[in-house]
């Protein structure tokens, strides 16, 4: 309610400031006047609103309105200005059409083939990266744990275990420090799992630097450090981001960072094509992470791709498959069985095809119950993480503080783990040599010889190994108290860890929490005396369902997660219980809080467009939604005007309608096209001026290639030097503008505008009146600001971040 009222107050203030006479739209400096502050005066102007909460407005000084913008603490109800849209709609200007017409049928066929080649390359490279991460993490973590283990064994007898504790904490924090420094100082966008960012990218939001080579480097090194550093994190989420970066890089046939251009795939150098490859990359990442090719495709479909077709699906599936099997192949070499293609996935849940793990009809309600528990715990997790993240954005925003925080978390993780292990009395007999693998870190500590501390097998291990151990250890490997304490501790640790300035995912910690309480649930079931049927016996299946429920409760994925779990366990018969658990988890969780990724997208103030417009928005029309007045250009525009508009920092517009201005009247001009900032910059850079063309007829005609070469990093306007003489020149835009932009009448309802915008992946949608005159412009931020809050429709505010 309050927000809507605020909106009203600004708008009426706009009304107040006599906008009607603001006709000279071409002058960029004019815009400053309109980006003003709602003033106290405007509130009093609408006297009947005085009952609503408007204290912020009242406190602001009326005379400071023009000079100082209002500042508020960061919250989730903001839209950041730094995010722009991607051009998912082709810019159909004359150059483009000419080129398309020149292309023969054969050319298109070649393009199709090169799409397949690119997808294959994406798969191979993603698989290789996954393999690299896996091997390095295994080596590093193995090294670390063997050092600590040796130390603990030494000090168990002679005394001085607190030194082992310190050693563990120091080793952890130094590894995490490296990972955190590269993230916090070099590439902050590489923090976290990267799934929210990729989701935004595929939604059509240009997140700065998200698909750069540097990001990939930082991501890979960061994830190695944070997993080896013993944080409660996994390496699966970052794989998805890595896959996406690989895809965006490979499909362009060049690297801007390395200044290397292979002169291939030039046709793909635009957002539309790149988007498809990025979805393939994300799928390849999932498939490498979990050994789940189909799950990868569905993940891309569910979380990512907002734009979809059958051929693309098939290509994405190809990329996923290649990625899984590249990983398998190289891991098989690493493990000394070259050619054996059965080492799937970074996390391999092991196969659940044991007869003991059958389930029966009467267990279904139990699985549903577990789903509900997962949903509740997931909602709690998200809620806690939401507040933590807000705190972090507000107070812990300096890079050095972020590094310190990450180090502290890792040290505390080590401390807590050590304390748990130290005080645990749960001793279990060591498995015999056939089952025993060298990688298992069995700590004896105060247990009898030939036994190991069971708490240590959960804490003193990389999270992946702990998950597998929870799934597959024979019944009786853990006692209920251990599992309960472990669940509780790990829940808070994982919640605390997600959102640090390290690159790390939340998949594995969620699975681990879920597996722990799931196993606990399974063990407790056997205590019910009346139903001591042998099928209860194996708690492994409950661990699996618990893991699925917990993960579903946190990230709220449904379809793809079911398939991923089924594929990762290699047992189709578990599809039904997993699906039921995930369904329940989502329903229960959604009642309390949003999914973790959605929360983070919101907290980053990304203008994210959901599938549909908010449900109660039918009464809004394009007139209320659009930005107006619009900065327009004429077909033949003066260079000076263009430069001025482009260099105006306060507006930073990206799309400019090209109009035929009726010189005599003050009315807005008739629409004849749309031109983008990036195009104008390329034009200015090449000095495509009317006068020059006349003077030098031999000048090369600007081609689409020139635009592609500048893509995706168009230089800022400041870097382009325009002399005083040139400012007087004229520029003919008619050849370069998109002559057929999408337009809607003013009376179009918001859902309709939304549908058009979302389905076509538009960046700018022009609002015209009955005479085809431009009255407004709808962009992503205009649509994304409406959202359904607790009190009905709310409006988000734009903010500089």
């Amino acid at each position: 309610m309050a927000n809507i009222t605020k909106k009203v107050s600004w708008s009426s203030r706009g009304d107040d400031s006599a906008r009607g006479e603001a006709t000279p739209l071409l002058n960029g400096t004019e815009e400053v006047k309109y980006t003003r502050q709602p003033s106290g005066g405007s509130i009093f102007h609408i006297g009947r609103l005085s009952t609503v909460d408007l204290e912020e407005e009242i406190t602001s000084e009326e005379d400071s309105v023009r000079t100082r913008p209002k500042e508020i603490p960061h919250n989730e109800k903001l839209l950041s200005l730094k995010y722009e849209s991607l051009d998912y709609d082709n810019i159909e200007n004359q150059l483009f059409l000419e080129e398309e017409r020149r292309m023969s049928h054969m050319n298109f066929r070649c393009l199709e083939i090169s799409r397949w080649v690119v997808c294959g390359l994406i798969g191979v490279l993603t698989g290789l990266i996954a393999c690299f991460i896996d091997v390095v993490v295994e080596q590093l973590a193995g090294k670390k744990y063997s050092i600590i283990k040796e130390n603990i064994e030494k000090f168990t007898e002679v005394g001085g275990l607190s030194i082992s504790l310190l050693l563990w904490a120091v080793l952890n924090s130094s590894l995490v420090m490296v990972g955190s420094i590269i993230v916090a100082f070099f590439e902050p966008i590489a923090a976290g799992s990267g799934i929210p960012q990729i989701k935004c990218y595929l939604n059509g939001v240009k997140i700065p630097r998200v698909v750069r080579l540097k990001t990939l480097m930082v991501k890979v090194c960061g994830v190695i450090c944070s997993v080896a550093g013993g944080l409660a994190v996994g390496k699966e989420g970052p794989m998805i981001h890595s896959g996406a970066v690989v895809a965006a890089g490979v499909s362009q046939g060049r690297s801007t960072s390395l200044k290397k251009d292979f002169k291939i795939f030039e046709y793909f150098r635009r957002d539309t094509e790149k988007r498809d490859f990025v979805s393939a990359g994300a799928a390849a990442g999932v498939s490498a992470a979990f050994g789940a090719p189909v799950g990868g495709v569905l993940f891309s479909l569910e979380e990512g791709a907002s734009f979809w077709n059958q051929m693309l699906t098939w290509r994405i599936f190809f990329a996923s498959m290649i990625s899984t099997f590249t990983l398998n192949f190289f891991l098989s070499i690493y493990n000394g069985h070259p050619g054996n293609l059965s080492y799937p996935g970074l996390i391999n849940f092991g196969s659940f095809d044991n007869d003991k793990l059958n389930y029966t009809l009467y267990e279904i309600p139990l699985f549903i119950l577990m789903g509900a528990v997962g949903g509740l715990l997931g909602a709690l997790f998200n809620f806690l993480n939401y507040w933590l993240t807000i705190f972090r954005i507000r107070y812990v925003h300096r890079p050095c503080l972020q590094v310190m925080e990450a180090m502290l978390v890792s040290a505390v993780t080590a401390t807590v783990s050590f304390t748990m292990i130290y005080f645990s009395n749960d001793c279990q007999p060591l498995p015999g040599p056939p089952e025993k693998t060298q990688e298992d870190n069995h700590l004896q500590l105060f247990c009898a010889d030939g036994e190991y501390n069971s708490m240590a097998s959960a804490f003193f291990n990389t999270p992946e190994r702990s998950v597998i151990s929870l799934f597959h250890s024979p019944p009786g490997s853990y006692n209920p108290l251990t599992l309960g304490v472990f669940t509780l501790t790990y829940f808070f640790l994982a919640c605390w860890t997600y959102g640090l300035a390290v690159s790390a995912g939340v998949f594995i910690p969620s699975l681990l929490i879920g597996a722990a309480w799931g196993r606990l649930f399974g063990i407790l079931l056997t205590y019910i005396p009346s139903i001591s049927s042998p099928t209860w016996a194996d708690p492994g299946k409950y661990a699996l369902i618990g893991a699925a429920a917990q993960l579903g409760g946190i990230v709220r994925m449904t379809l793809s997660l079911t398939v991923i779990m089924v594929e990762a366990t290699g047992n189709v018969t578990y599809g039904l219980p997993i699906m039921l658990a995930l369904m329940t988890a989502k329903i229960v969780g959604d009642y309390f809080a949003e999914g973790l990724y959605d929360i983070h997208i919101k907290l980053q103030s990304v203008p994210f467009l959901h599938w549909d417009a908010p449900a109660t928005s039918h009464w809004l029309t394009a007139r209320e939604v659009m930005s107006s007045p619009v900065t327009c250009f004429s077909r033949v525009e003066k260079v000076g005007t263009i430069v001025d508009v482009l260099s105006n920092t306060s507006t930073n517009h990206n799309g400019f309608p090209v109009v035929i201005q009726d010189a005599a009247s003050d009315e807005p001009g008739k629409i004849c096209g749309l031109i983008l900032r990036s195009q104008l910059i390329v034009l200015l850079k090449h000095k495509v001026f009317v006068e020059r063309a006349r003077s030098r007829l031999s000048q090369r005609k600007l081609q689409l290639k020139d635009f592609r070469d500048a893509y995706p990093r168009f230089p800022p306007i400041q870097s382009i030097h325009v002399s005083q003489d040139e400012r007087e020149c004229m520029m003919d835009l008619s050849e370069f503008m998109n002559a057929t932009p999408y337009t809607v009448p003013q009376e179009t309802s918001l859902p309709r505008v939304f549908k058009l915008f979302r389905a076509l992946g538009l960046r700018h949608l022009l609002v015209v009146d009955s005479e085809n005159r431009v009255v407004g412009l709808v962009t992503r931020k205009d649509l994304a600001r409406y959202h359904l809050g607790k009190h009905g429709l709310e409006e988000l505010q734009l903010a500089q971040t």
């Binding site: 809507i4 009203v8 708008s11 009426s12 706009g14 009304d15 009607g20 815009e31 980006t35 709602p38 609103l49 913008p69 500042e71 508020i72 603490p73 960061h74 903001l78 005394g159 275990l161 607190s162 504790l165 507000r394 107070y395 812990v396 925003h397 300096r398 310190m404 502290l408 040290a411 505390v412 401390t415 807590v416 050590f418 304390t419 130290y422 015999g432 040599p433 025993k436 060298q438 500590l445 105060f446 009898a448 010889d449 030939g450 036994e451 009464w619 809004l620 007139r623 209320e624 659009m626 930005s627 107006s628 007045p629 407004g776 931020k781 205009d782 734009l798 903010a799 500089q800 971040t801």
Partner: protein, 376 residues
């Protein structure tokens, strides 16, 4: 066809002039009916069943098959009759059946179930193969050579299993049974080799691949699995003829600590813990080293387990948990750090503010009023 078979028990029942004739007749008919259903199922293989009372001249092979059938038939009978609780009739019916079958059949009475089960005898190992060889008719394609191999296999198998069982607890199977195992392995290699025997026959086909049961093969492989899961080969020399040096060394080290345990067993265990620590540690280290090198077999594992249990449980020499205070101190210090960190951040770091930007909006007083009305 059906009538014929039913006649058999009927005749038998009639010949035994006893009371309750009618009842027994009915039961016999039921039993016979059961027999038929079984027979029908196997009709193709045991086609001679209904020829049996009818045709007295039968080829030898046929009578042999019928005998086998008889065994299974009597099994069926026992089942059926047990279901009706009348064993006596069953017996009489069988007898009469046999009687009706003619001299050839009764002449081979040695093959009735009771006498053809060799393992009922206590001296099984040595007589079983003899009885087996006499049981086979001459014209079967099992050569004498193969039968003798089979006999040896049987003997060695029995010896090996006997050895395993006698050294089950404490486990000493590797140490004691490797000779037996080697023998068994050798004879199985002989049987399964493709090399031709003296009569230019290979026993693989006749002994191993002859039927779906593949008894010899399966028996041997079950034992092989046990041997391999015991990892016995790791305690033996490469030719598997004797215990290897590591094992012997381990046994001496083990004995040293065992004798130490024995010496200090009486009295205070804390003394034992102190005195025997050195030998026990040498043993533990050796064991760990061997575990890493994978030179352990089940014997050594078992011995070590016992020793460890003595050390930790019986004599209670495990390391006690002593440093609780320092660990708690260090951990609470570590846990306190984040609290300080967040508090100081909250108090001293300036809060990040966002500058609000106000978008250009169309002047549309009318519609704004509409919104207002809708929402208030």
């Amino acid at each position: 066809m059906l009538d014929f078979v039913m006649n058999v028990p009927v005749a038998g029942a009639l010949s035994a002039t006893e009371p309750y004739l009618g009842l027994r007749l009915v039961l016999a008919i039921i039993a016979a009916y059961h027999m038929i259903t079984i027979t029908e199922r196997n009709r193709k293989r045991h086609v001679c069943v209904w020829k049996l009372p009818l045709v007295s001249r039968m080829t030898r092979l046929e009578s042999f098959t019928c005998l086998k059938m008889r065994c299974s038939l009597s099994d069926a009978f026992v089942l059926t009759c047990a279901a009706f609780g009348i064993a006596q009739l069953c017996v009489s019916a069988t007898e009469s059946d046999v009687a009706a079958a003619g001299p050839e059949v009764s002449g081979n009475g040695a093959l009735t179930p009771s006498s053809s089960l060799p393992f009922e005898d206590h001296n099984v190992g040595y007589y079983f193969s003899l009885s087996l060889s006499s049981a086979f008719p001459d014209d079967l394609e099992v050569s004498d050579y193969c039968l003798s191999l089979l006999r040896i296999f049987g003997e060695r198998y029995v010896n090996y299993v006997k050895c395993l069982v006698s050294y089950t607890r404490p486990v000493q199977i590797c140490e004691k049974c490797y000779t037996n195992f080697n023998n068994l392995k050798e004879i199985f290699a002989n049987i399964s080799s493709d090399a031709m025997g003296p009569d230019n026959v290979s026993c693989v086909d006749s002994l191993i691949r002859f039927d779906r049961l593949m008894l010899v093969y399966n028996l041997y492989h079950k034992q092989l699995d046990i041997w391999e899961s015991a990892a016995c080969s790791q305690c033996l020399t490469t030719d598997q003829r004797s215990l290897n040096e590591t094992t012997l060394y381990f046994l001496t080290v083990l004995n040293r600590s065992a004798s130490c345990f024995d010496k200090h067993k009486q009295g205070n265990h804390s003394e034992l813990c102190k005195e025997c620590k050195a030998p026990y540690h040498t043993l533990s280290e050796l064991y760990n080293r061997m575990e890493k090198n994978q030179t352990l077999c089940i014997d050594l594992e078992d011995k070590m387990n016992v020793t460890r249990r003595l050390w930790s449980k019986t004599y209670n020499c495990s390391v006690p948990r002593e440093e609780t205070i320092p660990v708690i101190a260090v951990s609470s210090f570590m846990l306190f750090l984040p609290v300080i960190f967040y508090l100081s951040n909250f108090l001293h770091s300036e809060q990040k503010k966002r500058k609000l930007i106000h978008p250009k909006r169309a002047k549309s007083n009318q519609s704004l009023m509409n919104i207002q009305e809708k929402f208030s």
